[in-house]
Structures are given as structure tokens and as C-alpha cells.
Symmetry: C2
Subunit: 738 residues, 2 copies
């Protein structure tokens, strides 16, 4: 098999040194370092090229080792697991293109090395998915033909045309996911205005309100077809019917959404008072108080340690998170992010972005010093594979400690006051996916808790305003702030006192009780009701009203000295939409099972690695990972548990879930910090401040050290944004114009 030989050759070119396991403390050979070598052969021969009928290497990166193999090694009682590459090939030299995953290994290449399909963690049975978007140039051409067929109309309506020419000032595009059924692949396209200047800015806020239904099934563009038009609330069966209506008397023409300063990202409006004065900022006068092994991406801050990993599909994830030397979390990372829209128009109604197809790692671009992260943050590079190349995102992860500005602890008595600062350590990356930038934080607190936070910022995918006041507010001349749910799914593989874990449920319930002292009277009061979520039959969980129920991962055999389970509790921090409103979405079909509840608990299995796959997006009714099928009645009693949950979502706001120790420590770990004070006062004497060995910097600090070096910003060569390609998937081989 020619392809197999090619992949073996590619694997040979990998950097073998990074496959070593120098020590138990250093088990995670970072995927990006494995992929950090270009594969020189790939630009020539081997049947692979940039032509859209040729096969394409979509991915070569390190395959995440199975937990069953890694854990003995991490625990110091097993060998390092064999390492494999995960490779994905998009087979395009066929009438029915598909993408397929392979595993190559063990690495380095030896006589034991084999190439085999990577199927074991895809519960479809095979890591293989039909691709209906292959011929991107042909699609653009097809859309341009449609544009040409109504050029007189678009010229009349918006003084612009889309015909695939250099002077196009509008464009037409369809949206993911395609509606796949037997020999059909349907989408609705809409005409959009071009933003002034940089064409990938603001694209999402210039819809023009004319929609066309197309079927782009198959490789023969001559068989692609138009199935109707929609404008101003009226459906037209075909182009002729639409044209006829348009040129009939009394046809109502609607206004356009026109680019302008309102949509641009410059400073706008009257300058704010005193805003030219340098703003307050965080400084780090004596350098970082944490340790980073840059090569291994191993981090230590206070009582925490962990490894940072990175992959194309989901970006940054953390492994082997320990607090005071005890592993709490084996794996913590993003699985999928969904934006599900609704409107009365056929495009917006069907839009359900499953963003891993864009590749959160692929679009995790360089961070802006001093703005994305404090200037004094430590920045790390990441690498990823796209368009048959390995690329480096410079400075794409930042790590920094900061004073949150409010006390962690505070207590005043009549002659003393104690205050502890709430220092927090943050690991951050930003992924620019389409119209939104996702800001991902892992925050570590002195008390041993971890917060997983996502912030979204950017442009809404707006809808054209016409008869859709039930689907959002009107926000500009002809624009609806189209309603939509964001649902984000994380994997949280907790190992609390080992892997034999159970999920304790504690509910505060109102009750009435009679007590020995209550004189026979009923007392209205409340109680804790404790139970366990014992089986996957009951492990799809919604947060209860009034936050009455909490969920805690414990090991039933690990009690603290007072007889309580040593556990870690999973709680939402922020409050907002948390699961998908739309029920049985026709866009998501069988690919949204992880979006229907707040929290899911499953038994850990190497074969159930992820709740989702980017490939699901390609055919949502036939997903390679069907999360629902994981819930097959397995016991959750003293098993290795994996939780999937979501931080609640808010736009431009913090959205956060917390992983918090519960009866885990006998003390309060935050009491160990020196960043506290006890001021004793009174008695007519000067106050005495006990600072517990902490100190304030007393140097002359050159504020230039706290200023960012913005000219050093490099950016990335990968284009993150639509609109130019109807199919801008991560494995797109050709990006015209970029």
C-alpha cells in the first residue's frame, strides 16, 4: 500500500529523541514536538499533492497513549508505553471521498512498527468518515454561478455581484453542517457583504437576507443543483420563480447591512476622561514564582504540578494534575464546542457550529503580550499540523500568577485583623474560531481548587432582520442579534485517592422533623440527603434548582480522619445557559449527545477516549463517536470515573466551573501561603503587622519592564476566518489567496 509506505517514511522523519521517557516525572512527550519536524518527502510523489482529487495527509501528531498503559508508568511501576503517531488521510481520489485515521507505531520505526487503521476509540467501529465537502474550488465556482444567475438582482439590491471575479463585492456561502441523506448533501447559502479592508473581519455581521438552497452531493459539479430561494419570508421553488417574482410589480426590496465603523474594531465614541493616564496594571517585581520546564511543558506553582499537552482538534489540555504530590486529575481538556442558532430563515435555523472541525489547536494563535496576558507572563510555543505542514504557534500559551484584588480570607476581631490575598495561577490559550475567539483558562487556587473558564469574544453570527423578532433583538439597520446557545464540553478524568472512584450526590432538602427536645412539635428545617450515582443509567445529570445538589468524586475506601470521604466536588461557578435549548436538533442529529445535560459520569475506558470527534461534523447523523452509546449500564461504583461537563456560557463574560476539594485535606491548604497578614492593633500602640515571611518589593521598578513589546508580534500564517471557503475544514489542502 503506497500510502502505508509513505506514512512509515513520514514517521521515520520524526524526532526520535523526544520519544524517550527520561523519568517518571516526565512521561508526557508532547505531541507537538513529535510533529515538530516537517516531513520532507510529502511535497513530492507518493500520490499525495495539493490537487483536490489527490489524497491528502490531514494530520500527523502523537497519539495520546492509553491510560491503561500510561498509568502504571506514571505510578512508577510500569514501563513507558509504546508511542504511536496518529495520522489522518483524506482520500479524495475517489467518487466517495473520506477521511480515515491511522496509527503508526511503535515509534521509533523498527521491525515492530506497523500501520493500522485507528478504530479503537471510535464507537462507530471505524475511524473513518465520508467527506461531502471536497471540491472547494468547484463549490466556490458553483456558488459564483448562482451569484451570476441573479447578478442583476444583487446589483439592484446591493449594488454588488458575486461571480467569482476580482471585483466581487458580495459573496454567497453555505453553512455547516451539511444535511446528509441518501445521495443528497443539502445546505442553505446566504449572500453576505464584504467587509471593507481585511476580508476576514466582521464577516458575520453583514448578512443580506437572500438565501438559496443547494444540493452539492457527489463529485460532479454539473449535478449540483439549486432547490429554492428564500427572501423576505417567502419561499420560491426555483431561480426562475424567484426572478419572476422579483421583477413583478410590488416586489418588496429590503435594505442591506453595510459595513462601517459600527462594525469595526477601532476605538469608537467620545474619549473617556483620564484615559490617557497610564492604567493600573499587574507587575511581577521579582520575577516568576513558578517553575516551567519549557521542553516538557511541565509546570509547578505552589502546591500544584501538571503537564500541558496540545493537539490540533482541541488545543491545550492538562495531564497529571497533582496537588501536594497527590494526583487529582489524570486528564482535563476541551472536547467540543457548539453554537446552535435559531431563526425563521433557513440558513440561521440550521446553523450548528461544531468547532473542533476548525481545530482549536490549529487556530490557537500568538497571544498579545500585556493585553491577552500580563506582560510578565511566561509564554510557550505550540506546534500543530495543518495543510500538510507542521506549524508553530509562537507564544500561544501563557502562564502567570496574579493577585485577584480581593481577599481569599478575611477575619476581624476586636484587636486584630487577618487577611489573605487570593493569588491565582492561570494557564491561558486563545483559539480564534470563525467569528469568535475562545479564551481558555485553567486557574489554580491556593486552597487546592481548580477553575476551568471559557470566555467568548468576537462577532455574533448575526441574522438578517426580517420577520424574526421572535429570534433575537434588532441590533442594527437590518440585523438581528440572532439567538443561539453556546454549549462547551470538557473531559475531566479525576483520580481522587486512586482510580476506584464513586460519585457522591449530596442534596439539601427542606424537611420537617420531630426532635427529642421539640416537645412533640414538628420543626421545619433542612437536611443533607446523601447517595451515589451508581450506574451509567443514571449518570446524565442536570444541576438542580437552587443549587440544592452537589456532586463529589470520592473513593469509598478513602476516609479522612473524621470518617468523611476525601473528595473533589464539581460545581458551576457562573450561572447562564448550560445545556442546549433545542431538542432533537435536525442539524446535530446523533452528534449532540454531550450537549443535553450539565454533567455526565462514565466509567473510564481506553475505547471511550472522547465525547466527540471533529469528524462528527461531516455527517452528524452518522458520527464516528456517538456519546449517547457510552451510557450502556456500566457500574460507576468504585470505578475509574470520567466526567464530562460544561462551564456555563456567557458572551463577553466569565463562564466557569470549579473542581474543589471537599473533606480532602484536614487543614485548609491556603493557610500555608505567606501572602497573608495579621495586623494587631489597639491599646494606644502602633499596629503590629505579622507578615509571615512575605515581603514587598522595594526596588525601583523600571515600568518599561511591564510594557509589552508589541512589535515583536509575529502572528500566524494560517487563516482562521471564513468567509472565503464554504468548506474551511482543518484538513483543507488548498487555501486560495492565503
Amino acid at each position: 500500500m503506497q500510502l502505508g509506505i509513505y506514512l512509515l517514511v513520514a514517521a521515520t522523519a520524526l524526532d526520535l529523541s523526544v520519544l524517550a521517557y527520561p523519568s517518571p516525572e516526565n512521561p508526557w512527550t508532547r505531541p507537538e514536538r513529535l510533529a515538530a519536524r516537517n516531513v520532507p518527502e510529502r511535497r513530492s510523489g507518493s500520490g499525495l499533492s495539493n490537487c483536490h482529487w489527490d489524497n491528502v495527509i490531514a494530520l500527523v501528531e502523537l497519539l495520546q497513549p492509553n491510560k491503561s498503559a500510561a498509568l502504571p508508568y506514571l505510578n512508577g511501576n510500569g514501563n513507558a508505553p509504546d508511542r504511536y503517531a496518529r495520522a489522518a488521510i483524506q482520500f479524495q481520489a475517489t467518487d466517495e471521498p473520506y477521511i480515515q485515521d491511522y496509527m503508526v507505531g511503535p515509534l521509533p520505526i523498527s521491525s515492530r512498527t506497523t500501520l493500522q487503521p485507528l478504530n479503537y476509540y471510535y464507537n462507530k467501529g471505524v475511524g473513518k468518515q465520508r467527506v461531502y465537502h471536497t471540491d472547494l474550488q468547484a463549490e466556490i465556482k458553483f456558488y459564483a454561478q448562482i451569484g451570476a444567475s441573479v447578478a442583476d438582482i444583487t446589483l439592484d439590491l446591493w449594488n454588488g455581484t458575486f461571480m467569482g471575479l476580482a471585483n466581487d463585492s458580495i459573496y454567497l456561502k453555505g453553512f455547516e453542517p451539511l444535511r446528509i441523506s441518501h445521495r443528497s448533501a443539502v445546505t442553505w447559502g446566504q449572500f453576505w457583504g464584504f467587509p471593507i479592508g481585511n476580508p476576514d473581519d466582521r464577516a458575520a455581521v453583514l448578512p443580506l437576507g437572500l438565501y438559496v438552497k443547494v444540493d452539492i452531493y457527489g463529485r460532479d459539479p454539473s449535478k449540483w443543483s439549486v432547490h429554492g430561494w428564500f427572501y423576505n419570508g417567502i419561499f420560491y421553488r426555483n431561480t426562475r420563480a424567484f426572478r419572476k417574482a422579483y421583477f413583478s410589480p410590488g416586489f418588496k426590496k429590503l435594505g442591506a447591512n453595510v459595513d462601517g465603523p459600527w462594525a469595526q474594531l477601532n476605538r469608537e465614541g467620545d474619549p473617556l476622561p483620564m484615559d490617557t493616564v497610564a492604567a493600573p496594571l499587574q507587575v511581577q517585581p521579582e520575577g516568576p514564582r513558578f517553575g516551567v520546564d519549557v521542553k516538557e511543558k511541565y509546570v509547578e506553582w505552589m502546591d500544584f504540578s501538571f503537564y500541558i499537552s496540545f493537539n490540533r482538534d482541541t488545543g491545550m489540555r492538562l495531564f497529571d494534575i497533582k496537588f501536594r504530590g497527590e494526583r487529582i486529575i489524570y486528564e482535563l481538556g476541551l472536547e467540543e464546542a457548539l453554537s446552535h442558532y435559531a431563526s425563521n430563515d433557513p440558513m440561521q435555523s440550521g446553523v450548528a457550529f461544531l468547532d473542533t472541525l476548525e481545530g482549536f489547536g490549529r487556530v490557537a494563535f500568538e497571544l498579545v503580550q500585556g493585553y491577552d496576558c500580563p506582560s510578565h507572563a511566561t509564554f510557550l510555543n505550540t506546534s500543530f499540523f495543518t495543510n500538510e505542514e507542521t506549524r508553530t504557534h509562537l507564544n500561544s500559551i501563557c502562564l502567570f500568577e496574579m493577585d485577584t484584588g480581593h481577599p481569599l480570607q478575611r477575619y476581624a476581631s476586636s484587636n486584630a485583623v487577618s487577611v489573605t490575598k487570593s493569588m491565582v495561577f492561570t494557564v491561558r490559550s486563545v483559539s480564534a474560531v470563525g467569528n469568535y475567539d475562545f479564551i481558555f483558562d485553567y486557574e489554580f487556587y491556593l486552597d487546592g481548587s481548580i477553575h476551568v473558564t471559557v470566555r467568548l469574544s468576537g462577532y455574533i453570527q448575526a441574522a438578517y432582520w426580517a420577520h424574526n423578532s421572535d429570534y433575537g433583538f434588532k441590533i442594527h439597520d437590518n440585523l438581528s442579534g440572532s439567538m443561539h446557545d453556546h454549549v462547551i464540553n470538557y473531559k475531566l478524568d479525576m483520580d481522587v485517592n486512586g482510580t476506584a472512584n464513586s460519585l457522591m450526590k449530596t442534596t439539601v432538602v427542606p424537611t420537617k422533623e420531630r426532635y427529642p427536645w421539640s416537645n412533640g412539635d414538628w420543626v421545619n428545617t433542612m437536611k443533607l440527603r446523601k447517595s451515589f450515582v451508581n450506574n451509567e443509567r443514571h449518570s446524565k445529570i442536570n444541576w438542580s434548582p437552587n443549587s440544592a445538589t452537589t456532586y463529589t468524586v470520592v473513593n469509598k475506601d478513602a476516609l479522612n480522619k473524621y470518617g468523611e470521604y476525601r473528595g473533589y466536588r464539581i460545581s458551576p461557578v457562573t450561572s447562564s445557559t448550560t445545556f442546549l435549548t433545542v431538542q432533537d436538533s435536525a442539524s446535530l442529529k446523533k452528534s449532540g449527545g454531550w450537549a443535553t445535560h450539565n454533567l455526565y459520569a462514565l466509567k473510564q475506558k481506553d475505547t471511550e477516549l472522547h465525547s466527540a470527534s471533529p469528524y462528527n461534523n461531516l455527517d452528524t447523523g452518522n458520527p464516528v463517536v456517538n456519546f449517547d452509546k457510552y451510557f450502556d449500564g456500566e457500574s460507576l461504583d468504585q470505578e475509574d470515573l470520567v466526567l464530562y461537563d460544561r462551564p456555563p456560557q456567557m458572551i463577553n463574560a466569565r463562564s466557569s466551573m470549579a473542581i474543589v476539594p471537599q473533606n480532602f485535606h484536614l487543614d485548609n491548604p491556603s493557610r500555608a501561603t505567606r501572602q497573608q497578614v495579621r495586623v494587631t492593633f489597639g491599646g494606644g500602640k502602633l499596629a503590629q503587622a505579622e507578615k509571615f515571611g512575605s515581603r514587598h518589593a522595594t526596588c525601583n521598578f523600571d515600568m518599561n519592564n511591564a510594557a509589552p513589546n508589541l512589535e515583536a508580534y509575529k502572528g500566524d500564517l494560517v487563516v482562521p476566518k471564513y468567509p472565503f471557503l464554504p468548506n474551511n475544514a482543518t484538513f483543507v489542502p488548498v487555501l486560495p489567496g492565503s
Copy 2:
């Protein structure tokens, strides 16, 4: 009337100058300045003294002017409202002591000035409440007699006695609220250990598990009585029965909770790595970027302006909050805070702290520079009246701007990235109430939103651990982390586009629809369902599951240019217990109506000033303010609305609600800030950073300027903490030992 004359004399001594209204921008004559003069006569004559049978002035402070009088003045079309003093007298020279509110005015004293009972905003009809706790010394003596009656037992159990002697090493106290019924005032006391050293530290974590039921009705201590004992789950009808059982064979003796480092607020545990390095901190290199009129407590930051007020009952509150010159909020402030406990023991089961009785203003002590607030914060003093004296809390409010450390806005395209810093302006005070310190923040954001945040820190009011595993986790040798709800109530008087306001309700609902384009098929989707909360009959509101419903204050006659209501939305930010779990609490009786729901809307009336009163605590079944009675069927359609809501509560965590503009501005106000950057990159050139006129400080900054001056801490003379007095109400005339 002797008292009336006295109060007139007192009012004469007030500082008249601060009663002037120098300008429409300066309407709020701060209560503390009115009260800032001592009333020299009050230590002598006039029937007032420190004897517990004498009458006591409990309060003299400025009476908040009625909105009906203040608003025309604030709007520049009315005279300054007359000013009155609010005075409270506790009448103790009677068998049935009571506290009563009076109003004295207009001020300054003139022939028009009168003294009259202050009744108009108490819907009991009178601002007068029976006080059952008057004879504090007698109560201590009574408890000491009880302690003496079991001194042999307490000596045996805990090697300590409570007999009102200098060498007492334990003590006995009862809890609020008293259970008042016909000629009976019952409470359960418990024995507690004395903390080592400072006696008001850690009191709440040393319960000893022996309880005694007492009735302290009336002024004649000889008629007070013991009604039973409770120990280790067994109730004893009287002291003899308890003693008999105790000295019988087989009586089970339980362990004590003994003070030690575990309960103390020192640094504990192994020092953390690198913790002697000076920690990151926020600095303000070029001084504050906001304006404060210290005398008027008037503040301007960016597009916001507001006044800070202060009173004894509820501490800091804000008035006349404007954004871009438009009033959004007339009044915003705390109303009441409740901690309702539950356990199997008779004391903890009945504890329901209504904290305004302690006086949030009374216990709003000096803030610790660099720990409670950044060193560069601006600190303001406040004044309040307690124990017949006006006192000053030095540096008890802080104001500061900070960079929150994450982007407010962020968008990357292929050749540029835009990031805006999330600057926030915070106004903070801390009130040390009993075992908890409340950290109150008002946070102002560049987008025009305001967050109201409360953090609680301190000691739990722990329960003795005995047969109560259903009521909390065991956290120490004989200690239960006793379960309890915190419920906090704020008043939010919004004036959005004037006072004619309506409460819009917007719910995201799953639905299925047929569309012109859907080929006759049903489409599963979601919609907005909009309605109004039209009447007080429907205006007790709970947050809906999955945050599906939002509530927005609008003026139906004020549409923006796109036809949407210009509004402000009220949303929870954080997620936790939000209303009271216990239903129909026998402790709260008719005083907990504001704690049963998440949000309440009422028509504004001068006569419905507050949702609660400190006096409610004195007799919860007979409150001076019964919040439930406000809901009397008035229309909420285009009326002046007042909302009462609560930030959800978490211990040692942020708890926050947001007031957020919705379709209020045509632009995004945060775009006006200079604290943003647009970095353009690519094309092989150095990146270009557009900084919009902002700049970084380039000075040499003396870090000593960022170090707090802790020796300057003064503290306060008021003792904030129990346990020494069974009745430590704000108007307690004598604080023995303090």
C-alpha cells in the same frame, strides 16, 4: 415630653453646614456627616444614661429623604427636600421595654421643627418594637447561675466552669432570634470553649454540645427559668433530671472541641515554594484615573458617576448612579443578610441570624491597605452612631481601578488582532458581623454594567458533632461544619429612561415550527417568548432552569432607533444557593418574606422603603416591616419599579449579580476606551500596534509606593464579635469588658 426636648437639643448640636444643598450635583448630604458631631448633652441629665433601666438613644442619623421629594430636586426642577434626623430611643424604664424611631425636622432646628414618631415606612403601622433582651448584665448573671448549677459537670467534662468569674474558661450563651410567644421569650443556650488569647476569635468553632433551654421573659430575673437540657441526643426536662442522669452509671460523656492552631489564623503548614519572592501585585503608576469628592462622597470613573451613602443598619449604599449622564439607578444597597442553620440540636436548629441587627455600618471597620484593597486605592472614612456616640471608621471604604487580567474583547483575523483590557472600578467595604466578614463590592465595567458582589469569609458557626451527620460533614474532633443557607437581599431602585418602568420577561423556549421553506416539515428549534410582569401578584420570581428566562427593566415608551426597548437586565453572575431552603421557618416567622425567591419586583413607594428592618429580629413574628405585605396587587406596568434580589452566596467565593444594559446603547460603550490595541502583522514586516492614545508608564516606579503602610492601621473601638453578650444588638448601651 422630656425626651422630645432632649432630641431637639441633640439636633441643635448637629453640624448645620452639611445640611446645605450646594448644587444639584450634590444632593446627598451624607448621614455620617450629619451624625458626625457628638451630642454633648447626652452624657448628663435628660433621663438618659448607661443604666439598663434608663432610656437610651440608640441612633441619631440622617433620615433618607423620600424619593418623591428628592427626585424633582435631583432632576433640577424642585427644591432641596427638607432634611430630618432619624432617632431611635430604646425605652428601658418600663416593665415592657421597647425601641421606637422618631423623626426630628426639618433641620436645622427652627420654629417649624417637630419631633414625631417615625412610622411611615413601617408597615406594622408603627416604628416601634418590643425589646425582650434588655437586661444584659442580668442575663449574663442568669447564665452564670446556670453554669454554677452544673459546675461539677462542666468541670468533669471540660475541666472548666462558667460562673461569671474572672477564671471562667467556658461560657454559656443563647441565640437570636428569641422565640417570643405570650409571656415567654425562649432561647436555647450552649456551652462553648473560650478561645486562647483574644476572646472574640474563633468563638464559633468551639461548641461543647451541652444545651439548656431558658425563658428570659420580663424584667424580673428571678422569674426567669430553665426548661430543660439536651446532651448527646437526649432531652432532660429539668436540671435535676439532667444531673441525675449525668451521675448515673453508664452516662456517656463526649469529647470537647479544644482550641489550638487548627482554629487559629496564623500561617500553617509547610511553607510554599518561592513564596518569599515578592508576589505579583497591581500598581497604579501614574495615580488614579477617577475623581472623588471626598466631602460629598461623589465619584466619577469613565462614563459612570454616583454618590456613596452610609448608614448604621446596612452600611454602604449607592445613589443616583449615572452612565453617560443618564440615571440608571436611584438607589442600590444591602437590605438584610440571613444565615439560617439546621441541625439536630436545639440551638443550631433555631439559629437564623438576621445581621442588620448587628449593624453592617456599625461593624464596617478599617480596611487593610494592600490586602483588603490595593495599596494605591483611595480610602474614605465613614461615621456611624453606636452606644450613644458617633464614631468614625477610618479608611472603611476603598475605591480602586484594576486590570482584571483577562481581555474584555478579543478578535483575531488573518492580519490583525484586537484586544481590549477589562478595566473595572471597584467600591468596597467590609463588615465584620459575628463569625463572618462580609466583603461588599460594587464593580463598574466599561460596557455600562454593574456587578454587585458579596464575599463571605471567616468562621462557620459550627455545631457540636453528635448524631448530626445528616446536617453537615464532620470537620474536627467533635465538630460539624453545620449546614446553613446564606441569603442576602439588596434593594435596586432602577430608573431606566425615567421612572415609568416595566419588567420585561424574555424566555428561551424549545419549540417546533413549520416555515415557508421547510417543505411542510416541522423544525425543532427555539424561540424567544416575551411578556411583562404586570402586577405584584406575579412579581415574586425564581430563576428558571437552564437560565432560560431573563428579566429586563424597560420603559415601554423608550425605544431605541431599531424599535427595541432600551433596558437594563438583572442576571445572576455566579451560581449557588440563592433562596432559603427551609420553608416556613419557626425562627424567621413573618420576617423572612424576602428570602423565599430570587427576585422581587414592587412599585416604588416612599412608604415601602426597605424589605426588612433590624427590629424584625427582636420579634420575628411581629415585624415592623413585613415584606410579604408589600405584594398587594399593585400594577407594575410603567410604574417606578424597585427590585429586590440577591447575589447567590458561596463561602470564600465570589457571589455576584449583574445589572447589564440591554438594547440600551446603540454602540458598545466599552469601545470608547483607549485601553485596547490593534496589532497588524504579516507581510514580512514588523507588527504595527495601534494603541488609540493609551500609553504605558515608562517611569522608574519606586515599589515602596506600592507597599502598604500597615503600622498606620488604627482599628476601631467597637467590638464586633460575640460571645460575651447574649444580646449584642447595635443599641446595646453597655459593653462590659470592651
